[in-house]
Symmetry: C2
Subunit: 215 residues, 2 copies
DNA sequence: CGATATACGCTACGACTCGTAGCGAAAGCT
DNA sequence: AGCTTTCGCTACGAGTCGTAGCGTATATCG
């Protein structure tokens, strides 16, 4: 799931092939410095000037590539979410528990905690930013739900869907429940997402799914 | 659930009874102005000077009462959450659907959307702020879960718990699932929490609960 | 009533960040 | 070579921050 062209760049005139190309190392250094500064300073105290200094680039270079703090942080965090995988653990319950714990581990990292919530908050009044978050972060992770369901259906643990529209709605519901519960547990309630919690949660979720499939 | 003493005030020396008391009207004006400014400007562009102007008070008055933007916004938003109620609709499913829709309506208001996420984001690096959020907002709403379960047990829809520790864990789990799913659906996925979704979600949740109770 | 104590409005201040403009130099492509 | 774009650097006005100082307003206490 790699974008062929870096999507963070603002309008580049015609994607011309002449002239000095942008430094890829600078890109990596900036995104890394952003995550680092986010951990130390938090969202509100994060300044682009500081990021530029840490990355070893000029402040103007930052403004040439990103429109502002929001866009920069979205790109800096989006990279982290691509780590999530869905290894086949043999059963639907084990798969769900595994991805829950993976997601929790990702949210336990300070840069993820801070950045994710801050950007979502900022996006409530900015439609363009919201769209960027959805395409860069949220929608990419829905693949985990679809993948897990397909595996479960192949194993016979879940019935195959007849109506594709219902199937899509159910997938969305599951995605919101899983992601929402884990985020709320770890960031709002500030309680650990350990193996015990993951087990209880999985039991609740799968119980609800099989119960619903029965009717 | 009204606190006898305003809890937002920073250290007041001995709560002495002499001298001019703080204006309660100013308090209300400031908190209202904060919510208003939050809607128009968003979190990052919200300035305390602007809030002071809108509220018709001096900027210094703001700094005398609140330590900073975070604390002010937490108090401004905490008031909104006290609206949530759990009217008795006759069945557990109806009660859950009702509170889900209420919560969604609260999150649909722009000031709530913006403020809640922003404050949570800021709190990831600030233990004092985290504690303030929990006591002012989160923990207060857990009453809804406890209340709903008690009613369901009285109706015979749910079995009574034997182990109080397990009961507490289950309540926490339900709280995180409900609040997390609704927040994620409306703020991250940006999809409406309508009657249909609330119905599907309730079926999933209650299905999981009865299934889990069976084993 | 006067004395005391606190809150309030107002102004001013240094420090900081913002986002942009302008320049010369560097680095690629034809 | 010549052209094009990026990069680092410096400087700038605008805006915000949080605080200090001062005079005034409003409460309780003796």
């Amino acid at each position: 799931m790699v974008t062929a062209m870096p999507d963070h760049t603002t309008d580049r005139p015609g994607r011309s092939r002449t002239g000095r190309p942008r430094s890829a190392e600078a890109d990596a250094a900036i995104l890394g410095a952003t995550r680092e500064a986010l951990v130390e300073l938090g969202w509100s105290k994060l300044t682009l000037g500081d990021v530029a200094t840490r990355a070893g680039v000029a402040k103007t270079t930052l403004y040439r590539r990103w429109a502002g703090k929001n866009e920069l942080v979205v790109d800096a965090v989006a990279e982290l979410f691509d780590e999530l995988e869905l290894p086949d653990r043999g059963s639907l319950a084990a798969d769900v528990e595994g991805v829950v714990l993976q997601f929790a581990a990702l949210l336990a990292r300070p840069e993820t905690r801070t950045a994710l919530m801050a950007v979502v908050a900022e996006s409530t009044g900015d439609e363009a930013l919201r769209a960027r978050i959805r395409s860069s972060i949220v929608d990419r992770q829905k693949r985990l739900v679809l993948q897990g369901r397909q595996r479960a259906q192949e194993r016979g643990e879940l019935p195959r869907e007849n109506d594709p529209e219902t199937a899509a709605r159910t997938a969305d519901l599951i995605f919101d429940v899983v992601a929402g519960a884990v985020v709320h547990r770890s960031l709002v309630s500030c309680e650990p997402v350990d193996a015990q919690w993951a087990h209880s949660f999985t039991a609740l979720l799968l119980g609800g799914l099989t119960e619903a499939a029965r009717t």
